[in-house]
């Protein structure tokens, strides 16, 4: 009888321990991959876009200060990428097209940032723009020439870039919504175009 009770207690404790372990490990069953956890943390922390110098496809240099008063939707890519980046940018283009024209350039600017400044000079970026009908004005493509500044941005926004053996990079992808004050406000799933576009339009309408 005594044995029986010990056994039952042990089973109950086991179940509790297992559920507790899963709960802690997944932030309360909300994040099953490190990527989701990263996004959740970013949305909570709302980091400021660091003061880095961007150089765009028209060879203009500026910081994010020049977008003050406008929301900015950002992606991170490198143009030599053949896998995720083209899909990311195609989806980015679809979001761009789904935003009412009156908002474009006024309320929101699209920005593609390359984390491969060595290869992605303004000329290369200009070529890359043509694939996605980016106008270089309301949807800009830019690199960050200074490696240290680039690193500070990638760290702040949790973009993990690992060089791979074929001269390319492995990296995580998302749409980053930076608000008018220059703070990261949301990280959107780049595979769900409809949800991203609804969020952005809703967010812009709320502000007006």
């Amino acid at each position: 009888m005594m044995k029986n009770w010990c056994n039952r207690i042990a089973i109950t404790v086991s179940i509790i321990l297992v559920v507790w372990m899963w709960f802690i490990g997944t932030d309360g069953f909300t994040a099953f991959t490190a990527e989701t956890a990263r996004k959740n943390n970013l949305i909570e922390a709302k980091p400021k876009f660091p003061e880095v110098i961007l150089e765009d496809s028209k060879e203009r240099t500026y910081t994010m200060e020049s977008f003050r008063g406008k929301n900015v939707l950002i992606t991170f890519v490198y143009t030599a990428c053949t896998t995720v980046c083209p899909e990311l940018e195609r989806n980015f283009a679809e979001v761009y097209q789904s935003i009412p024209a009156s908002y474009i350039g006024e309320e929101i600017v699209f920005l593609t940032i390359s984390f491969d400044p060595e290869r992605d000079d303004p000329k290369t970026l200009e070529n890359y723009q043509q694939y996605f009908q980016s106008d270089g004005e309301t949807w800009r493509m830019a690199r960050i020439p200074d490696q240290l500044q680039l690193k500070s941005l990638l760290d702040a926004f949790g973009v993990i870039v690992i060089p791979d053996e074929y001269d390319g990079f492995s990296h995580n992808s998302a749409f980053y919504f930076v608000n008018k004050l220059g703070y990261l406000e949301n990280v959107l799933d780049y595979t769900d175009i409809k949800a991203a576009s609804e969020y952005v339009v809703g967010r812009l309408e709320r502000e007006i």
């Binding site: 044995k3 010990c6 056994n7 086991s14 297992v18 989701t36 896998t83 995720v84 990296h171």
Partner: protein, 181 residues
């Protein structure tokens, strides 16, 4: 046995082996984790562990905990977190030997139906993971490259295929032979 287990454990903890195994996803998943489980199995050895006769009488409690730990380490996130968070890394070196220990203690105690359940559960779980890792164009683990996760997927798939073949062998070759006798 016990000395061997401790020796093994120290070897796995050594900075050189630890970093070496963790730098490649497939080694991390299919060498370091199983070896840590093996440490637990060796630690258990053939001893009685009297107190567990009372607390793990029918093996269910131990098995539930062991399976829970195993599933935890199948979450893509755990592998990533072990690399970036020291707490999770420590937990890995504690929980996996414990898993092996409990598994060794519980496996002979549990009844057939529970065993069948575990077989089916692991077959489907590994199949799901193989499909996940092989099929997705997205990087699941932030700290590893995409082609590494495809290798992991391929290993999962091989495990599933070999297991299925083994089960078929059990049922159709051994099972029919036994019937003939």
């Amino acid at each position: 046995m016990m000395k061997l287990a401790i020796l093994f454990y120290i070897l796995l903890l050594a900075p050189g082996t630890r970093e070496g195994l963790e730098s490649v996803m497939v080694l991390h998943m299919f060498l370091q984790l199983p070896l840590l489980i093996l440490v637990g199995i060796l630690l258990h050895g053939n001893r009685d562990w009297r107190f567990l006769e009372k607390w793990n009488e029918n093996g269910v409690a131990g098995m539930l905990l062991a399976v829970g730990v195993l599933i935890f380490w199948m979450l893509p996130r755990s592998l990533d977190d072990a690399l970036t968070e020291i707490g999770i890394e420590v937990w890995k070196f504690v929980s996996l030997p414990l898993l092996g220990f409990l598994w060794r203690n519980s496996w002979r105690k549990i009844v057939g139906i529970f065993k069948s359940f575990l077989y089916i559960n692991f077959l489907s779980m590994f199949g799901l993971l193989a499909w996940l890792y092989l099929g997705t164009p997205v990087q699941i683990c932030n700290n590893y490259l995409i082609n590494e996760q495809q290798i992991v997927g391929a290993v999962y798939l091989s495990i599933v295929l070999v297991s299925i073949l083994y089960l078929l062998y059990l049922v159709f070759v051994r099972g029919l032979e036994e019937e003939a006798i």
